[in-house]
């Protein structure tokens, strides 16, 4: 489960990338929500965008990446794979900036289908 959260705590994008093997339904959402406070605290104290694993719930980990403009990328996963996740975040970040640079881009209408395809390709390459 992967989620992009905007500056004002608005979810911008959500995708199920199969990074948690066990079927846990909507528990994902709660786990990410619970980790948000920790992410904000760590982001304020670290110059790195990639914050590694910020939270843990039983066997499920939460990794986060916070951009300069405080857009948070959060990934819920059940296996440790720090480098892969870092590369995945960087790839998504790059595509995210490209989407934001588009003057016609509208956060309310959300990301277009090419963005979605790119995120899923990145997930295939780095996470699975």
């Amino acid at each position: 489960m992967f989620l992009i959260i905007g500056k004002n705590d608005v979810p911008l994008y959500e995708a199920n990338l199969g990074t948690v093997r066990k079927e846990i339904g909507h528990l994902n959402q709660f786990i990410i929500h619970a980790a948000l406070d920790i992410v904000d605290e760590e982001a304020a104290n670290s110059p790195n965008m990639y914050l590694k694993t910020v939270d843990k719930f039983n066997e499920i980990y939460v990794s986060a990446y916070v951009t300069a403009g405080n857009i948070r990328l959060m990934l819920v996963h059940d296996s440790r794979n720090e480098d892969g996740i870092r590369n995945f975040f960087i790839e998504v970040h790059e595509n995210l900036i490209k989407a934001l640079m588009n003057p016609m881009f509208d956060l309310i209408r959300g990301f277009s289908q090419p963005f979605d395809t790119r995120v899923k390709n990145a997930a295939k390459r780095f996470l699975i």
């Binding site: 500056k7 304020a44 104290n45 670290s46 110059p47 790195n48 965008m49 990639y50 916070v66 951009t67 300069a68 403009g69 405080n70 857009i71 960087i90 970040h93 790059e94 595509n95 900036i97 490209k98 989407a99 934001l100 640079m101 588009n102 277009s112 090419p114 963005f115 790119r118």
Partner: protein, 183 residues
């Protein structure tokens, strides 16, 4: 046939825009705002600032990614240095002229730029508006950056006349709670 999208472009390739193209567009923007503001100078500045703000947020993301290898600034001074250096270079291909802190009010910083600066170079405004500064657009960009980096501040562009030269000073006044937490 495969459609090319914005995602196929290279983000790190720097592109330059000719000054004349910029001035052509910017003069139209100013005229448009002037008509909308009924020639009220303060209203015009406010509109220019408003146009600049969303750009600030985008530039922060872009320049951090391009030049800083995905590191970000976590305190006010670093963020201002970033604006003074890398950001100014991206926007105007040079560093800003000066960055100072007000000696009396610690929440106030000044970034100054010698005239003629890019936005005021060809500004020819109605009489009586001698305090109007088209740099308000750049002030809006700075404000957008700081707001996006979680250091909300009020930025205004003002003229300052020295003996030798004329300057535009971007006065950055941070909200009091921003200063308390980060300084």
């Amino acid at each position: 046939m495969k459609r090319t999208t914005v995602y196929d472009r290279n983000l790190k390739a720097k592109r330059e825009v000719s000054v004349s193209a910029f001035h052509f567009l910017f003069s139209e923007i100013v005229q448009y705002c002037l008509a909308k503001a009924n020639s009220d100078a303060q209203e015009l500045e406010r509109q220019l600032e408003e146009l600049g703000q969303p750009l600030g947020a985008k530039f922060l993301e872009l320049v951090c990614f391009r030049d800083r290898n995905s590191k970000k600034d976590i305190n006010i001074i670093e963020c201002l240095r970033f604006i003074h250096g890398p950001l100014w270079k991206t926007l105007f291909n040079k560093n800003a002229d000066e960055l100072e802190q007000n000696t009396e009010e610690h929440d106030t910083f000044m970034i100054s730029e010698k005239e003629p600066s890019l936005c005021n170079q060809f500004a020819c405004l109605p009489k009586g508006d001698d305090y109007l500064n088209c740099g308000a657009f750049v002030a809006g960009i700075i404000e957008g950056i700081l707001a996006s980096a979680n250091f909300p501040a009020k930025v205004s562009a003002i003229f300052k006349n020295d003996e030798e030269s004329r300057k535009t000073v971007f006065l950055v006044k941070f909200n009091s709670d921003t200063i308390d937490g980060n300084y």
